[in-house]
């Protein structure tokens, strides 16, 4: 909103020409991050109180039967705070007409909505088993994933339409016209493989895998939010480069027109993540719940596909990959098929707890690994 205000109303006015700052993505990104962060800091305590009073807490709070060693009774659904702050920051600082922005907002609302409904059911029945069934959850996610992929791959609706690519080709780029069907891998500068419409199932798989693995990671205080912010940061930087015609040329990236706007969203996500960590750090005052983890996962999934950097998630989101893979192997292959555990515990963070490492220590170690993975991901900017 402010972007339009500056661009069309204030900038032409004499004495307000400094407002052209708002046309710079870097400037808006920083302000979006600050907005989301401060919003959460200001509203945090009120929101926690509200959630608590309206019963959005972990499990039944039974007066006099509280285990002094457990976190039971902590409010959940703090993800609404993240989603709200990010949406507001997007509304204020990004260009709402940008198709990339629109899809990310759609993903955030849809996935956040699924998570919200799931949390709502759990809170209502005061039983963590009473949420949405696994099948319903996956079904709702798949619906979005398929619709998104169809829009993304259909030339008339794609943000990577041939028309836009032709603009690039006119400017001397070698990008293939059907770039949207191509796979791109880290450490290599050119598109590798034309998947044609096989890209659709691939994309659906990526969306389901990423959104659910973030969900699995949300098990310990601060475990999901920090790696999610780090991953968002990496993708934010990538989208800044990819969306910028000069930087992308220098760094040998395939330029995608309009994708720079994504870095504002991802910066807002980082800001909101830090704000949320303020309250979520051990011992947590609020949990993000499925609302938060699903929304974060959905956004990261859609961003990774639109930037054509799905495989970067293996590195940048390595923690989520490990969490998701461990659950999948344990549940489906181990418990479901073979009748035995393959890991001592899954998701993987419980494995470390099982071996006698305290929650706080596990979380910090995961952060460290997350930072190293972030650095490795950033290395792919130059090494390609």
């Amino acid at each position: 909103m402010i972007y339009y205000l500056c661009k069309y109303v204030l900038e032409p006015v004499r004495g307000f020409d400094w407002t052209r700052l708002a046309s710079y993505i870097s400037f808006r990104s920083i302000l979006a991050a600050m907005t989301a962060f401060l919003l959460i800091l200001l509203l945090g305590n009120r929101m926690i109180r509200y959630l608590y009073l309206h019963g959005a807490k972990d499990t039944l709070h039974d007066y006099g039967f509280m285990d002094p060693e457990s976190k039971r009774g902590t409010p959940t659904m703090g993800g609404t705070l993240i989603v709200g702050a990010v949406l507001l920051a997007i509304f204020l600082w990004s260009d709402p007409a940008n198709p990339f922005v629109q899809w990310v907002v759609a993903a955030m609302i849809w996935f956040g909505g699924i998570g919200f409904y799931d949390d709502y059911l759990k809170v209502k029945h005061k039983d963590s088993q009473m949420g949405l069934s696994q099948v319903t959850k996956l079904g709702l996610q798949t619906v979005f994933a398929i619709v998104f992929m169809i829009f993304y791959l259909n030339d008339y609706t794609s943000p990577l339409s041939a028309e836009r690519i032709r603009l690039l080709q006119d400017a001397g780029a070698v990008t293939p016209e059907n770039y949207k069907f191509f796979l791109q891998v880290p450490f290599y500068k050119f598109p590798v493989l034309d998947l044609s419409w096989f890209y659709l199932p691939f994309g659906v798989f990526v969306i389901l895998a990423i959104s659910n693995s973030v969900n699995f990671a949300d098990g310990l205080d601060g475990l999901a939010i920090v790696p999610a912010s780090l991953t968002a940061g990496v993708y934010g930087l990538f989208s800044y480069i990819i969306g910028n015609s000069i930087y992308s040329k220098t760094l040998l990236f395939t330029h995608i027109i309009g994708s720079g706007e994504l870095s504002i969203i991802l910066a807002a996500l980082v800001g909101a993540g830090m704000g949320f960590l303020w309250f979520n750090a051990f011992p947590a005052q609020v949990f993000m719940g499925d609302t938060g983890s699903m929304a974060l996962g959905g956004v990261l999934a859609v961003v990774s596909i639109m930037l054509k950097h799905e495989f970067l998630f293996l590195l940048a989101g390595g923690i989520f990959v490990a969490e998701g893979a461990s659950v999948l192997i344990q549940e489906k292959i181990g418990i479901g098929l073979l009748g035995r555990r393959i890991f001592h515990r899954a998701p993987i963070h419980h494995n470390y707890q099982h071996f006698g490492i305290a929650e706080t220590k596990v979380v910090v170690r995961f952060w460290i690994v997350g930072i190293i993975l972030m650095l490795l991901s950033l290395a792919t900017i130059k090494i390609r």
């Binding site: 039967f65 509280m66 285990d67 002094p68 292959i333 009748g339 035995r340 555990r341 001592h344 099982h354």
Partner: protein
Amino acid sequence: MNFILTGGGTGGHVYPALAIAEALKQHFKDARFLYLGVRGRAEENIVPQLGYKIKFVASEGLAGRKPGLRFLLPALKMLIGLCQALVIHLQFRPAAVIGTGGYASVPAVLAAVILRRCGLAKVRIFIHEQNYAPGRWNRLISRWADRVWISFLESERYFPLSRVEFTGYPVRRQFAPRDRLEARKELGLPAEAKVLLVFGGSQGARSINRAIVDALPALLADPLVEVFHGTGNLKAPNYSAVKDTAARVAELKLDLEQLARYHPRDFITEIQVYYAAADLLVCRAGAGTLNEICRCGKPALIIPKSSLAGEHQAVNALAMARAGVCEVILERPVADGEGGAGAFIDGAQLAARIQALLADRETLERMSRAALSVNGAADMEVFVRSVGDELQGIRLGPRRIKAAPDGWQSDEAVKLAGLSPAGVLAYVQKNVGRLDPEALEKYPSIQLLRYFADIFLTDRRWPVRNIGVKLAGLTLHRERRDLLISIAGDRVPAPLYKRLLGKDFSQVGFIRRNALFSLGQLGVWDEALSGLVFSALSEDPYYEVRVQAALLLIHFRDKCGPSAALVRALEANLAHRSLEVRWTCLEALGAVAPDAGFLERMRRFNFHPNWRIRQALLKAAVHLLERGVISAGDPGLKSLEDLIPTCTDFIPTFPLKNSLNRIHRLRGGDANPAGSTQ
């Protein structure tokens, strides 16, 4: 006037439908009947034999209880059957549909419902339920029925109250109770004989046939006992009721006097005579048999057929037992080694129960009186009147509504029979698991729960067998102890393609682990268990089994005593890949190690980077001290002084919650169970 009869899948649904038809035929002179059934099931033979016309529709039951794809095929078949039934309805234009349950009845009844809703027909719908707890299909279609006829008064709570009518169980010809002495004269029996009538239905029941033969020597030892045994004429490829029974009796080498008092019959024709003459019946719990028992007022020892839909025979029998009509023995389902399932009844136990009952005249009298009071005779006129009233537009009069309709949840047996295996387990964990052994023995449904454990233990699907293993432990099913031991040590390999993925034996890791755990719950330590633990510790490829075996040694610390072999096996596990195996085995060493030098030998663990291993060493020292193997001044304890005391885990305490709990206690509340565990 046209009637559609329907119901089937099994004969138990078909005969009642035909009995009702017979009664209607006598009253409505212009009555025409058409039977709708499923091809290849019981009705295909029975219905034409008795002179009724039959047409076939497609339908199929749900094989298991588990949801998923297996619903798909039955649903499709029923859809096809529904279309067929619609066509038949429109051609035949029945005034009423009479359904007696079973999946075969669903298409015909649903078609009637649809036609009625569309205003295309004014057909009335009648449902008859033969069993105590309604079958799933009758529960489904009863909501559209005009009248629901029930055979047990107590069944009314399972149906819409305003439309339930108690009619009893319909029989084709009146079964007139005969005089006891007269009947005995007819059979050539002395008046003072103790007459036992054993039969397992028209086909016969293998488990009952074999058990009663096993029980014969004990029973016939009493010179007054006469045994009439209806073996049935079942001729399966691997079992012929008559031949198998005769061969087994011959093996017993009974003397002639005893043999003269054993009367095997392949088929009992004039059964009412035998009923009248008998002092005690041993039989199945089909609805028809139960009805006859009640009509004749006969005490019975009932062995319900196992593994039926909804375990309805067991539920029937237990309901009757509560009413004091009968006693119940639950048979034990076993896998017969050829992929099929059979059942087993312990002959000695059967003999003991029969003898106890025959000796107790008073109880027999009481059971007999109770039987007569449960069911008024099912007067077939009731059905005629009910149909006639309904066709003339006379609805059922207002009924007293129970203050609190307790619904089908109130009867535990019915509830349990309706649950999935996982549901049964959850129910047991919640309601039974915390009882102490004495209270457990007195728990009303304990017999049924152990019976469920038996059923699950013979299942082909490992997750169900796993639940059976857990259930056997939770219900302290001591009779299955040997089975649990053999399961935990089972080394039958899994199919190759699963082995490639990492599966080892067909009794999967979870089952072996849980069998060990259940053996711990049973609380008996002996040579067999010791051998099992040793083999688990030294051979089992799955780490959790080794962990459980070590935990078992800790559990039986004071019973198992020192054993050099076990110590060797445990020490070998101190280098196992899994840390969890290492720390449990280290602790278990403290529970079985015979020597005082143990702690010094284990000194290297003082500096292990993982604190759980170090803690296990300390726990082992505690075991040694408590067992009295070492004394307080032991030099080994001195070696523990340099153990690294840092620890990467801690338990946080939230002081605010402590204060809240304190306030609660000061207000007179209960102590906080969670807070007091520290």
